[in-house]
């Protein structure tokens, strides 16, 4: 057990898997000598060699299509997209081949795609996006969004073990900002089990990724007004923990769904629609959604602050629900 950053937890977890399982290899742009744009694989090429730590050409479809082929041949590829935004260049491969091969042809595709995602530091429209909702709509793909160092490692291990294509969204704004205790030994964090980040009785927040911390700050504000907020960190969107969400909804009878991705058609809609349908009798207020507005992610700090849900926005939403 040691305190690690979210970034370190990912890096150590990945190295641990590569040491124990020869089938695991990593491929991506600049992940070798350079150690990756965020240094997650720093030193990996020295330890594992150029054929298990592969510097790829600037060709996302070759990278992920290559992973799929290698996976079907028995390997356990872990690909790094330099930024999550660039996975759009491999959309066809993931949705057409990787997602459907098991259902159509019975061929499992155990690949992991690491996706540094999210905004908060003026990355602009193409280095800040949270494309998890787009993939969560495609049957056959699993979607993982860790928020703590411990989960980051445990969910990565589970992702590598999983016999399906797993999109692993690692939020860049958590990389060095968030620290926490991380067990040294190997462990798995199960998919589909939400984490109760904070217990409460009056209002439930359902969220994931960096927004967990925004929600937490807002919850602290409300604690001063004696409103007790429960925060559920979904950890994984596909599968997502309907049971935990519906139970918490029944307990507090008021729910706020929060995400950093844009609002219309975001995964928050799926969660809100499910709660509204299945906990209809238990709700004392409409299920509220807070998300980024329907625009590209703006570059300028003044605009980006207005774009990404802020603590004040969440606190206001929680008060509104509390007072409903």
């Amino acid at each position: 057990m040691a305190e690690k950053t979210y970034l370190q937890a990912i890096s150590d977890g990945l190295r641990q898997e590569m040491r124990r399982d020869q089938r695991v290899f990593v491929i991506g742009q600049d992940i070798g000598v350079y150690g990756g744009a965020f240094k997650v694989t720093l030193g990996f090429q020295e330890e594992f060699g150029p054929w298990r730590v592969i510097d790829a050409p600037l060709a996302e479809t070759a990278i992920l299509g290559g992973c799929t082929g290698a996976a079907i041949m028995g390997m356990r590829p872990v690909a790094e997209m330099q930024f999550a935004d660039f996975v759009s260049c491999a959309w066809d491969h993931l949705t057409t081949v990787a997602a459907k091969q098991r259902y159509r042809a019975g061929t499992p595709v155990p690949i992991v795609v690491r996706l540094p995602s999210g905004g908060g530091f003026s990355g602009g429209p193409f280095h800040s996006q949270n494309p998890e909702s787009s993939f969560a709509h495609i049957p056959g793909l699993k979607v993982v969004c860790p928020s703590t160092p411990e989960d980051a490692k445990g969910l990565l291990v589970t992702a590598i073990e999983d016999p399906n294509p797993v999109l692993y969204f690692e939020h860049k704004h958590l990389y060095r900002r968030i620290k926490g205790e991380v067990p040294d030994e190997r462990y798995q964090t199960p998919f589909g089990k939400a984490r109760v980040h904070r217990e409460g009785d009056d209002v439930t927040v359902v969220t994931w990724g960096a927004m967990v911390y925004t929600a937490d700050d807002a919850a602290k504000q409300l604690a001063d007004d004696d409103v007790s907020v429960e925060i559920l960190d979904l950890r994984t969107l596909i599968p997502w923990d309907r049971k935990a969400v519906l139970e918490s909804a029944s307990k507090t009878s008021k729910v706020l769904v929060l995400h950093e991705d844009t609002r219309t058609g975001g995964f928050g809609a799926e969660i809100a629609a499910t709660i509204a349908e299945e906990a209809f009798e238990q709700l004392d207020a409409p299920v509220k959604r807070i998300a980024a507005p329907d625009t590209p992610v703006p570059f300028s700090p003044t605009l980006e602050r207005a774009f990404i849900p802020q603590v004040e926005d969440v606190a206001a939403g929680l008060r509104e629900l509390a007072d409903y």
């Binding site: 060709a59 028995g74 491969h93 056959g140 399906n164």
Partner: protein, 348 residues
């Protein structure tokens, strides 16, 4: 322009023996050609009988290209054949009745009715099921080769694509990665001169697709796709070159698509003369004559093979038709794989 090498036609029995096929093998090749065409002809009848849902595609004219390449593959080699490559499935040993069941969407087809026509493969025979999106399986074939390279196995992956699909970015990314890393992969281009209704000069700007191979750092060769033994020889060369660390090759098999793009298409846009010209080079007839002239195949042998194939296919028809439709209650099964699914030859 870097012109790809043009392969010479098949030679004498002696030559072919040196290339690795004895007389028995050759009769087997002939048989596979007959079975390939036979399956598609039976499929056509089933379609006309309304027993095949959706559309229906054949590889008529491409039988020798498909069988020739597949014959050159080693037992542990893998490949991603496409919709004109029935001969690959046949040569790798997929049972015809299961293919007919696939056509009809029955539960004994390789995809158990979840996908149609040639969108299928038996992974235990080293084949990966194609997707419609062309040529999305090429990067996957390169990935198979990457696994072989990482594990230093002497295996080769084959990726098929049509000359029309050569325009897609996937072709370029697959060949770039394969070329940069000199991976053990062979790219096989089924150049049947048409992409649906589109002629080659509107698909790509060179005379041959293989002319582009050198832009990816490997060799290209154009072979007459109606000459099964020439195809075999070039495929064999390319596969063994890849196996021995020589990197990729692009083998372009030149044919003519002898029917419409699919059964609904009468190919009015293809000049009649072109069909007439290529009809003279029917791959089955060509090889039959070669066998008689070079391997003195007797009337008896010929009849025996034809009879066997006929029985095999009639059998297949009966058996396929007995296969039940998939049970709707299974609709939701298998979207996600379970650890047990990894219990395949490849995941050992």
């Amino acid at each position: 322009m870097a012109i790809a090498r043009e392969a010479e036609p098949a030679g004498s029995l002696k030559e072919v023996r040196q290339a690795g096929l004895d007389r028995e093998d050759l009769l087997g090749v002939y048989r596979n050609l007959l079975v390939t065409r036979g399956i598609e002809e039976r499929g056509h009848i089933l379609y006309k009988q309304g027993k095949i849902p959706g559309s229906f595609y054949t590889g008529r004219g491409n039988e020798a290209a498909a069988v020739g390449v597949a014959t050159a593959m080693g037992p542990d080699d893998v490949g991603t054949p496409l919709h004109r490559d029935m001969g690959v499935h046949v040569t790798r040993g997929v049972e015809p009745w299961r293919i007919l069941a696939q056509y009809m969407g029955r539960s004994d087809g390789p995809t158990q009715g979840r996908d149609g026509n040639v969108h299928m493969a038996d992974s235990k025979l080293g084949l990966l099921a194609m997707v419609s999106h062309l040529p999305a399986m090429l990067p996957v074939a390169v990935g198979c080769a990457l696994a072989f390279r990482i594990r230093e196995e002497k295996r080769v992956a084959l990726g098929w694509f049509g000359e029309g699909a050569s325009a897609r970015g996937d072709t370029h990314e697959a060949m770039t990665l394969a070329g940069v890393r000199q991976l053990p992969v062979v790219f096989v281009c089924d150049n049947n001169q048409w992409a649906y209704s589109t002629p080659t000069h509107l698909e790509f700007p060179t005379e041959h697709v293989a002319d582009r191979a050198e832009a990816y750092g490997f060799e290209g060769v154009v072979v007459d796709g109606t000459d099964v033994l020439a195809v075999y020889r070039e495929a064999k060369r390319a596969i063994e070159k890849a196996r021995s660390g020589g990197g990729p090759t692009l083998v372009e098999c030149l044919t003519l698509r002898m029917e419409g793009h699919a059964v609904h298409d009468d190919a009015f846009y293809v000049p009649k003369e072109l069909f007439e010209e290529w009809a003279k080079a029917d791959p089955l007839e060509r090889f039959r004559i070669w066998l008689r002239e070079n391997a003195d195949m007797s009337d008896e042998e010929e009849d025996e093979i034809a009879g066997d194939v006929k029985r095999l296919l009639n059998d297949a028809l009966r058996r396929a038709d007995e296969s039940p439709d998939p049970d709707p209650s299974t609709l939701l099964e298998g979207v996600f794989a379970t650890p047990e699914d990894l219990d395949t030859p490849h995941h050992k």
